[in-house]
């Protein structure tokens, strides 16, 4: 399999090579003025706060809502596994989010993905050429009920994470390095079975490279918690970590709408235990298709109802009229 990894690496370099700093968009938020046109409101850019699944050191802009998600196109018949994120930005420094963290549920009938609600804070430091953008996030895991098989005891899985990430923005390429300290638990439902709790330290690495004016190539690799559920009440479950990797592209159809497509390793692992000896086979890889939508709700609310408007922008627009009245 080495040549496959080499192929991915070579293609990543190939896609990265021609990118220039000119591809980087100029940041300016959607104007919150009552007279702003739709073109101005949706002109963007709306920087994303995550790669495919890995959160980066950026947060969603103020007065913006980002909705993203993807589906596995190749899960078992009749089952689609999904993951998603809804994030709302505050003051260009924080975002409140609801997400499905990446996780692998071995032997479970349920789809993977642990729900979590959290907040991410971006350090108020302007990134320089060698100084990375930094962020820290705290996510509280919400319980999700699962069974190893029909008739097996029900348990609740959850994972609460403290996540720190740094992102270095080089010409044409962003490199993101993060670590996730995850407190993962399996709690029996109805008192049957034993509790399992583990704290895992899970590193993660991601790369985003501009390839054309509207496309970026992204790759991420990291570890995620893996829950192995007990088939009977007398057997204990287990929590450990598993490798997770994805590579693909994000295509910005418009500044506010992007499409993601990627190949992932160890995403479709359901209904069967992962055999460590054969866990890296092609048949365990998956294809995922998703998208990201940015909603500049502040600008829309200002345009529609005159609320959440940018007070600093109003005098600038009124000044010519006032001058005309005076003359």
């Amino acid at each position: 399999m080495r040549w496959m990894a080499g192929s991915f690496a070579a293609l990543g370099l190939a896609l990265t090579a021609p990118a220039t700093a000119d591809d980087a968009p100029v940041e300016e938020p959607a104007p919150r003025r009552p007279d702003a046109t739709a073109a101005e409101i949706f002109a963007g850019p709306f920087p994303s706060s995550q790669l495919f699944a890995m959160p980066t050191a950026r947060v969603v802009g103020a007065y913006q809502l980002h909705l993203s998600g993807d589906v596995s196109s190749l899960s078992e018949p009749g089952v689609l596994s999904t993951s998603g994120l809804a994030a709302i930005g505050f003051g260009d420094l924080a975002q409140l989010e609801y997400r499905h963290s990446a996780a692998v549920s071995a032997g479970s009938e349920q789809t993977f993905g642990l729900p979590a609600i959290g907040v991410q804070l971006e350090a108020p430091v302007r990134p320089w050429w060698w100084w990375p953008r930094l962020a820290v996030a705290l996510r509280f895991g919400l319980p999700r009920e699962a069974r190893a098989a029909p008739g097996a005891p029900a348990v609740e899985e959850r994972a609460t994470d403290l996540y720190a990430v740094g992102g270095l923005e080089l010409p044409g390429v962003d490199v993101h390095l993060g670590v996730r300290v995850s407190a993962a638990r399996i709690d029996p439902v109805g008192g049957q079975g034993a509790e399992v709790a583990r704290t895992l330290v899970l590193p993660t690495l991601g790369v985003r490279a501009a390839t054309t004016r509207t496309t970026v190539m992204m790759a991420e690799v990291g570890k995620v918690p893996r829950f192995t559920l007990a088939a009977t009440a007398t057997e204990p479950g287990d929590i450990d970590d598993a490798l997770f990797a994805r590579v693909g592209v994000r295509w910005a159809l418009t500044p506010f709408l992007a499409v993601d497509a990627s190949v992932g390793y160890r995403i479709e692992v359901q209904r069967r235990a992962v055999d460590p000896a054969t866990g890296g086979q092609l048949l365990d890889w998956d294809l995922r298709l998703g998208g990201e939508l940015a909603v500049p709700w502040g600008a829309l609310a200002c345009r529609a109802a005159g609320v959440f408007c940018d007070d600093a922008a109003r005098p600038a627009r009124r000044q010519p009229q006032q001058e005309g009245a005076r003359s």
């Binding site: 190939a14 196109s73 190749l74 390839t211 693909g248 592209v249 497509a261 092609l282 048949l283 890889w285």
Partner: protein, 336 residues
């Protein structure tokens, strides 16, 4: 099990037909906003292999009622021309990528009673995503039996790559693709397959040469609990194969193509157990561009060229519909 399999086949069939019909409707429909669309032009001679992109038609011109010779532009300037569409080989993968927003839908039949459907969409010009259903996967239910088709084998595919001359002078187009099937129930078993390939395509005069390597994996699981076999159970060398082909622009709007590819063959109860092997397939044929949106392909393929059994050859015909409506729409939105 039989009922579930039948139900799944119906679902897959309905989905494939719906995709083809939807894409046909999109391809045939006018853009709808009155803007000139280069795709509406009558069938024009296909450009030579090294030609520039398709030219947009001139803007509509009206003359004022006073009869002056001065012409006024009645519509905004014509949009930028769309990039040239290159569609690769008949069966083997190629490094040619659809432009962003372009959609193709292919449907075909062959003399072996097989059906094919394939829908692809270009993502930003650097990637492609598609779903397909094919009857090319073969199964041999006993060691001395002829191989038959596994019907309705549905898969999804993702390809990402770079164009020619992107990295250095003389660099061929490169693409890395991954294709994986859904589980397919047949012959009291469930099968699925996956392949990862790296391919290079290079234009040489009026021909385009394609060559690459593929890693195949496949799994066959018995319904009776008799166990599973997989291609990856053996040596890695059994999973790797080279493939390639050539595409020649032989006449205006007509391409002649030939390619060699590999597909898994499922051998049931062979030597007391199931086996999976890779067999080479040879395909050749022509592609004719009837209009900018409709292409026809016809040819022959020998599913197991290694056995040199020409009686097993199949003649196929398929239609390929092209829609560039979304590509044009995205271009318009970007221009604004």
């Amino acid at each position: 099990m039989r009922k579930r399999e039948q139900s799944r086949r119906w679902r897959v069939g309905a989905l494939s037909i719906a995709c083809v019909v939807a894409t046909s409707a999109t391809a045939i429909a006018a853009p709808g906003d009155g803007d000139p669309d280069p795709d509406d032009a009558p069938p024009a001679p296909s450009p030579p292999a090294d030609a520039a992109p398709i030219e947009a038609p001139p803007p509509r011109v009206v003359r004022p009622p006073d009869g002056t010779a001065m012409a006024l532009l009645a519509s905004p300037p014509a949009p930028a021309p769309l990039p040239e569409l290159e569609l690769g080989l008949l069966v083997a993968p190629s490094a040619r990528m659809l432009p962003g927003g372009a959609i193709t839908a292919t449907t075909g039949i062959d003399t072996g009673g097989g059906f094919e459907g394939d829908v692809r969409a270009g993502l930003g010009g650097v990637a492609e995503f598609g779903v397909a259903t094919t009857d090319r996967l073969r199964v041999r239910v006993c060691p001395t039996c002829d191989a038959g088709a596994v019907h309705w084998s549905t898969s999804a595919r993702f390809v990402m790559g770079v164009d020619d001359e992107r990295l250095f002078r003389g660099q061929p187009a490169l693409a890395l693709g991954f294709e994986k099937s859904f589980r397919n129930a047949h012959d009291a078993r469930e099968s699925r397959f996956a392949s990862l390939y790296l391919v290079a395509s290079r234009r040489v005069g009026r021909a385009v040469l394609h060559a690459g390597g593929v890693v195949w994996d496949a799994e066959l699981v018995r319904d009776d609990g008799g166990g599973a076999v997989a291609l990856h159970d053996g040596a890695f060398g059994r999973m790797v194969r080279p493939f390639g082909g050539v595409d020649i622009l032989a006449r205006e709007r007509a391409h002649v193509m030939a390619d060699v590819s590999w597909l898994p063959e499922l051998r049931l109860d062979d030597g007391g157990a199931d086996r999976i092997t890779l067999r080479p397939m040879l395909s050749w044929g022509v592609r004719y561009q009837a209009s900018p949106r409709v292409l026809f392909e016809a040819g022959a393929r020998v599913p197991d060229i290694g056995a040199a059994d020409l009686l097993d050859a199949q003649i196929f015909v398929q239609a390929r519909l092209v829609s560039r409506y979304f590509e044009r729409a995205i271009q318009r939105v970007s221009a604004r």
